[in-house]
């Protein structure tokens, strides 16, 4: 009996629990299921907008999954590769500021090759697999680093992506199989993202497909539907953006994921497009955006009322050997320093490969409390970058 119960519990962790009619369960098992649901309820997302500033911009608080404390928004999601930050291992993660660093973004596309959905389920889902139990994952197919939308390959069956394993067409059923095995805290529906220059017809089609796939994704796994961020596209057409937002708002979703940015639209046209969408979204649900990475772009998003952002910029800086140095306390520095720009640095970042740091025994940022600044000098990082050592990337990502 014990064993049997154990097996059933294992089964209920697998993707399709609703397949079992309730009459098959004994009273005890039903109680277990109720407890499990209550546990699930506790893990559910809660989002509260605390204050609105200068029109659309807002401050909020996000309670999510197993994260020990609430996360204040606007917030950055740390980019990951196969569920782990690119270079930071789990034992080093606590040295990042908490709770902000507990919010991670992951792409289900990283698991198209392996491990299989069955194996991931056997391990017990994403949190268990990557050993991060107190971190929260938001799953989105496009990660803007390893997986980019390939609008030409996308058809009515599914969305196409450029991945490290080549072009892959991902159908809603396939996508939901991975989502169901991973069990992320939040996930976004499949979107047909098109660049700014496509025809009006193609743009319309992308909106229709994206809305249709949202219904498909929720339909395939009703249980997971509670944690879905509905994808909103519409390219650089204000009308299509509004149309898509209206359709998605009609659906029962936990929040919104705004796609189709960073794909050829200009900085000037972006604020209007963003506002067209956010003006139609209910205030009490979180909004995530994809494709805005540069600090200036993130500020545009904040101004339009976006709550969650991706952090691809950090990854690209890390690979380029640069370190962010801009002051966070609002202290302003004016003037243009030609010496800095000559070596690929400015007032927001420094290029640690530059020879001027060869003998620089100061930390990247004076007074910074991260592991890297606490332990290492600019000179050591300059050396590691020059000899192409992996530790350089580990230290810079931090």
């Amino acid at each position: 009996m014990e064993l049997h119960l154990h097996c059933l519990r294992r089964l209920s962790l697998l993707p399709q629990p609703s397949r079992f009619p309730s009459c098959l369960f004994s009273e005890e098992e039903k109680r277990n299921r109720v407890q499990e649901e209550e546990h699930h309820e506790k893990k559910k997302m809660r989002f509260v907008v605390k204050a609105c500033r200068n029109g659309r911009a807002r401050e909020g608080v996000l309670h999510l999954g197993s994260c020990p404390t609430a996360i204040e928004t606007p917030s950055l999601l740390l980019s990951t590769c196969k569920g782990l930050p690119f270079f930071i291992t789990r034992d080093l993660l606590p040295s990042l500021p908490s709770p902000d660093s507990h919010l991670l973004q992951m792409s289900p596309l990283h698991f198209l090759e392996c491990p299989s959905a069955t194996t991931i389920s056997n391990i017990g889902g994403l949190h268990q697999m990557v050993g991060l139990h107190e971190h929260c994952f938001v799953a989105a197919p496009r990660d803007s680093i390893l997986g980019l939308p390939d609008f030409e390959g996308t058809n009515k069956l599914g969305a196409s992506f450029e991945t490290t394993g080549g072009r892959r067409l991902v159908k809603p059923v396939e996508y939901m199989k991975i989502i169901s095995s991973l069990k992320p805290d939040l996930w976004t529906s499949l979107a047909d993202e098109v660049p700014a220059w496509v025809s009006e017809k193609r743009n319309q089609m992308s909106v229709d497909r994206t809305v249709c796939w949202l219904d498909d994704c929720i339909g395939i796994n009703l249980a997971a539907g509670a944690s879905v961020l509905g994808a909103i596209v519409g390219g650089s057409s204000l009308d299509e953006r509004r149309h898509c937002a209206q359709e998605v708002v009609k659906r029962n979703v936990a929040g919104y994921w705004i796609g189709g940015f960073g794909l050829g639209e200009s900085m000037e046209e972006r604020p209007a497009l963003l506002a067209a969408v956010t003006d139609l979204l209910p205030a009490e649900r979180p909004r995530q955006i994809c494709g805005l990475g540069l600090p200036e772009e993130v500020l545009q998003g904040v101004a339009a009322g976006i709550d969650l952002f991706e952090s691809t910029y950090i990854y690209h800086l890390t690979l380029g050997g640069s370190a962010l140095t801009f002051p966070l306390d609002g202290e302003e520095r004016h003037g243009y320093d030609s010496q800095l720009s000559d070596i690929g640095s400015d007032h927001t970042k420094i290029n640690l490969r530059a020879t001027v740091y060869r003998k620089d025994t100061s930390p990247i940022v004076d007074g910074c409390c991260c592991y890297t600044c606490q332990n290492h000098t600019r000179a050591y990082l300059n050396h590691l970058l020059n000899v192409h050592e992996m530790l350089a990337h580990i230290l810079l990502e931090m």
């Binding site: 332990n375 290492h376 000179a379 992996m390």
Partner: protein, 420 residues
């Protein structure tokens, strides 16, 4: 600019400067044997920056970093000494820069012990145009292609600037697989160069100069070299010229011969040895220190070290395997990750190398600690038998291991199938 506040975590007990009979032989270490089993010994090696427990394995941090690991991770897994390569460090960032920034300990912010090699091995192994004469090693500079000369004096001068706890004498390195008069020439030259190294050493009370026994696979030449070096009364001795593709039976015999002839009260370091089996055998024969790139290099190629031998994580069978790499291992990687997850990272993502390097070094540190503890607790033979049983469950322990263990006075008959 504010200087970093550095951890001054120097060795707790101060190092007494021991003066030899002629007062010239100053050393900056203390070597206390805590336990023995026949030839095997467990000791406490007190170096200027750390108090180490031997036998110990030293990971190789060629360019001032162990590939893919941070310093606090190395401390977490119990790493005691890191090896730095003089050749690489002298090229980049240069010895002058390291010296100016307060030595390698400061530069890489490593509070524990460091050892640097002489640079000679890399010149011979990496550079085809190296030419060894009585003056030193002439090689083509990889920077500008000009011929450059590394003399014993320069090697020591560079190592003095880098500032490691242990520095190595420049030796005349020849491949062990060659034979003939070149071996003899190299051995005698190594002996002549040791005097130049001793004379050039400017910091004998801060850094320990180890001499290197050469002589190929010839017992007579090894004997001359050992005796010559022992006469110089150095702080420690290394057995060089091994782990270069020679047959295993010759390998252990050289180790056994050298450890028998070296003084009891000095550390003995077998250079380039890193396979767990070799370390167990050498420790049984009385060696104390080892270094090798094997654990980290093999990790980058997707191989994990486990008590049973190795686990190739790239293999297809790992894809659905939800067990940890080694269920008996308590390292961060084994406590958190499955073989199936590591399988999808290895050789593709940096994280794969990082996690496997971490596990493999944790394994080597655990092996060192197990050797130390089993000797101290008087259960060394049992430990060796347990180790061999796991590596050779069918009892097919290689003959060279059986021969070496016989010399080491360790009865391993319980884990061997009798030879027919």
């Amino acid at each position: 600019m504010a200087l970093l506040i550095r951890r001054k975590e120097k060795a707790a007990c101060s190092v007494t400067i021991l003066r030899g009979p002629s007062a010239v032989h100053i050393m900056a270490l203390r070597f206390e044997i805590l336990g023995r089993f026949n030839r095997a010994r467990a000791a406490q090696l007190t170096l200027p920056h750390f108090v180490c427990q031997t036998p110990l394995f030293m990971p190789v941090g060629t360019q001032g970093t162990i590939k893919g690991l941070t310093n606090n991770q190395l401390e977490d897994i119990g790493c005691q000494i890191i090896l730095g390569n003089t050749y690489h460090l002298a090229l980049r960032p240069t010895a002058e820069l390291i010296d100016e920034l307060g030595g390698l300990h400061n530069f890489m912010n490593w509070p524990r012990a460091l050892l640097t090699d002489s640079g000679g091995f890399q010149m011979v192994s990496l550079l085809h145009l190296a030419d060894i004469t009585e003056k030193g090693v002439t090689f083509q500079s990889p920077v500008d292609g000009k011929p450059m000369l590394l003399t014993p004096e320069q090697s020591i001068k560079i190592q003095n600037k880098i500032g490691a706890d242990i520095i190595m004498a420049l030796d005349d390195v020849v491949r062990t697989t060659i034979t003939g008069p070149r071996i003899e020439e190299a051995m005698y030259r190594t002996l002549r160069w040791i005097d130049r190294c001793i004379a050039a050493h400017e910091k004998p009370n801060e850094q320990n100069l180890f001499g290197i026994v050469q002589g190929g696979l010839d017992p007579a030449l090894r004997d001359i070299c050992v005796r010559g070096l022992v006469d110089r009364n150095l702080p420690g001795y290394a057995i060089g010229g091994l782990a270069g593709g020679e047959d295993k039976d010759s390998f252990w015999r050289v180790v056994a011969q050298c450890t028998a002839a070296l003084p009891e009260d000095k550390p003995r370091y077998v250079m380039g040895v890193g396979y767990p089996l070799d370390i167990v055998v050498c420790s049984a024969l009385g060696a104390d220190m080892y270094d090798c790139v094997y654990p980290t290099r093999t990790a980058r190629f997707g191989t994990a070290l486990v008590p049973e031998g190795v686990l190739k994580l790239k293999h297809k069978v790992m894809e659905a395997d939800v067990r940890p790499i080694d269920p008996t291992c308590s390292c961060m990687v084994c406590k958190n990750y499955t073989r199936s997850y590591i399988h999808c990272l290895v050789t593709k993502d940096a994280m794969g190398s990082q996690l496997l390097s971490y596990h493999n070094l944790a394994y080597m540190m655990r092996l060192s600690k197990d050797l130390h503890m089993s000797i101290i607790e008087g259960r060394f033979p049992e430990y060796v038998c347990g180790f061999l049983q796991k590596q050779f469950p069918k009892g097919d322990v290689p003959e060279w291991v059986c021969n070496a263990m016989e010399v080491a006075g360790i009865d391993i008959s319980s884990c061997c199938v009798p030879f027919s």
